[in-house]
Amino acid sequence: MLKPLLTKLLNHLINQNLTAKEQLQPFASKSVNFRLPPLNVTLVVLEDGGLAIAGESSTPEATVTIPMSVALRLLANDEAANSLITLEGDSELAATLAKVLRGFSWNYEEDLSRIVGAMPASKVTSFGRKATEQVSAQAQNATASLTEYLREDQQLIAANYAIQQFLSDVDDVRDDAERLAKRLQKLEAAITEKLNKKPAA
């Protein structure tokens, strides 16, 4: 009963993010296979713009592959990692769905109020927020140590300072190149001037 359950959850989330439905509707009946090893899940767009887990016999129109190392960087909010996601097949479909999924936000205050009533819901959430902050701090710690391992020991991810250094090197090269271009321009102008003067003399 996993598929009905996941589908219910997906549509619950999508109903809280109404622009998602509008964005997805043009792709009704199409499906996308997401590969986040070891996870592999295919989602299908419904005719009303909703989302469901695809059936056993679906043939996806597009594939999105997110390697483990890239997934970790995405978790650590490294936007540059976006470009390392591989999209195959119908790339417009894949890109739209990936964008919608990343933009999902969960309106848990509203969900809770349905269970515990509107009044206490805000109290629960203010407690919940603190708890969530702690959980997310812990998650960040865990991500940080994993990232450190991958960066220092495995050298799979570049360290922040290395990237900063690289970026400033790029800036230097760009400035140097611009200066060089300017000097060449000057030289060129000087040569033309000289050539123009010669026949007159």
């Binding site: 009963m1 598929k3 009905p4 009946s29 419904l46 005719e47 469901a52 056993e56 016999s57």
Partner: protein, 246 residues
């Protein structure tokens, strides 16, 4: 009895003309207790499967839906809520007793839907009329499944969907257990709850004579659906097929 005119009635092979009549007798005799039995037989799971089918349909407010072999009206009731006041749901069944039960239950739920007695093999609707057609636990009772599927395809708009919810081929390791359940326990429960063991013997048998997931998928493609995808529910006890007319 010639090859062409014989068909299955559970495990028995009978004359084609007899089948519709026999199926009619079965459902006439179980109509009143049908819901209770459904709950007992599937341990209440059929409600979840039906809700999932409606969710997968992608039908939105204002949509037009046909419930084929709708009997108890479960699907119509769920769809009526989904399409809202601007939408339209038509409940149909070949059997007057089942249809009456379904219609009454819709009215009890405060919903009005036209209830129409008709054969799925000859649907009295124009071409390209519905956004969605559903048939829940009804296809296996039909004498000419190909004909019925072609009719459902005909009345669908381009972009419309057919949903078939039906007993199917269970995951092999669980099959012996399921056999014992459906051939021994089912008729017994039929006797206890609906006082009608024979009808439930037929139900159990007709489940086995039903095409497996891949075969039904191919039948739907043959009936003109451009694309068909299916879901196995409860290890394949039940499958939900969704076909698109493109």
């Amino acid at each position: 009895m010639s090859e062409e005119s014989s068909t299955h009635f559970g495990f028995k092979t009978i004359n084609e003309n007899e089948k519709a009549q026999k199926v009619g007798e079965v459902f006439h005799s179980v109509a009143r207790n049908y819901d209770l039995m459904n709950d007992v037989m599937s341990a209440g799971l059929h409600r979840g499967w039906k809700r999932f089918a409606v969710e997968i349909s992608g039908v939105s407010a204002g949509g037009r839906v046909l419930d084929v072999a709708g009997g108890s009206g479960d699907m119509s009731r769920l769809f009526a809520k989904k399409v809202g006041d601007t939408g339209e749901v038509v409940l149909t069944d070949i059997n007057a007793s089942m249809l009456a039960v379904g219609r009454d239950r819709l009215i009890d739920a405060g919903l009005t839907a036209p209830a129409l007695q008709c054969d799925a093999e000859k649907l009295p609707f124009p071409d390209q009329y519905f956004d969605c057609v559903c048939v829940a636990f009804g296809l296996r009772n039909m004498t000419h499944k190909e004909k019925a599927l072609a009719e459902m395809q005909r009345v669908l708009k381009v972009g419309g969907r057919l949903l078939v919810l039906e007993f199917s081929q269970i995951w092999k390791p669980l099959a012996p257990l399921y056999d014992a359940y459906s051939f021994k326990l089912l008729p017994l429960m039929g006797k206890l709850f609906a006082k009608d063991a024979d009808s439930y013997q037929y139900l159990a048998e007709s489940i086995r004579m039903h095409p497996d997931q891949e075969t039904l998928r191919q039948m739907m493609l043959d009936a003109g659906f451009a694309k068909v995808d299916y879901y196995n529910l409860a290890a394949g006890v039940v499958a939900l097929h969704k076909g698109w007319k493109i």
